[in-house]
Amino acid sequence: MATTKRTISEHDVVELREQVGAWPAGTRGAVISVYDDALLVEIAGPGGKTLDMVQAAVEQLDVKWP
């Protein structure tokens, strides 16, 4: 059976599938930069302030939007 690698694009809203850095599974953020084998995810507070920017692999993320 063929497998399809998920693609995640800049500005997608993502949710961590597992803990990444200090952030537990379920934390949501936005992809702000894309690399060959990783993504940079911004985690922001309710007022929009950046709380952290973490690297994550595609496999560690679920796309929630769009």
Binding site: H11, A30, I32, G47, G48
Partner: protein
């Protein structure tokens, strides 16, 4: 007293040089080690035991291209207080603002957009105004933070003063911007922008 091996190499106590270490080649400048205690750069994470003399940018793990940053006249890695390297070539501003930081419909960018509207009266229709304000401001505002994003890039924070629009036109507020630099002679790309409410 030291002895010699058959190959002629000296043995015995190792002498640690205390004077500036030679640069990797004649073209490469050497630099003072930054203060310890910061974790923003790879250089800052080099253990004290390895900080002998000065370091050469040629030896820096951050210099991913192994070409000297001084060839382009750009300090690398950037440090707090410096100007953003190649700020005049900054890019990605409009795209980031339209899709993210001024996009009220975006789950994460939406609160940033709300902040721009509430504090400075700037909405997405004003994107060209904000692009020009950030492009101009980043030419003179210093780097306020540097974040290591190894092995991909270095992220530089720059707080850019921006004047409001319409009923907020008498107000000037610092917009926090983050810029990604993937190597020493890279053009900075804006990855996020918001107002600390």
């Amino acid at each position: 007293m030291t002895s010699s091996t058959p190959s002629g190499l000296p043995t015995g106590p190792r002498t640690v040089p205390t004077s500036p270490a030679p640069a990797a080649c004649g073209r490469h400048a050497t630099h003072e080690w930054p203060a310890t205690g910061r974790s923003g750069t790879r250089i800052a994470r080099v253990p004290e035991s390895r900080r002998i003399g000065r370091y050469s940018c040629r030896d820096s793990l951050t210099c991913r291209e192994r070409s000297c940053c001084h060839d382009a006249g750009v300090p690398w890695p950037p440090t707090i207080g410096q100007q953003l390297p190649l700020a005049e070539q900054a890019w990605g501003i409009r795209e980031k603002l339209v899709a993210y930081s001024l996009n009220l419909d975006h789950e994460v960018g939406g609160p940033k957009a709300a902040g721009f509207e509430r504090i400075l009266g700037i909405v997405r229709a004003d994107v060209e105004y904000l692009v020009e304000a950030l492009r101009a401001g980043v030419l003179s505002a210093p780097i306020s933070d540097v974040r290591d994003n190894a092995p991909f890039s270095v992220l530089c924070e720059v707080r850019v003063p921006v004047a409001g629009l319409r009923e907020h036109r008498d107000r000037v507020v610092a917009v926090t911007t983050s810029w990604e630099l993937r190597h020493a002679d890279d053009r900075p790309r804006m990855v996020t922008a918001y107002i600390k409410g």
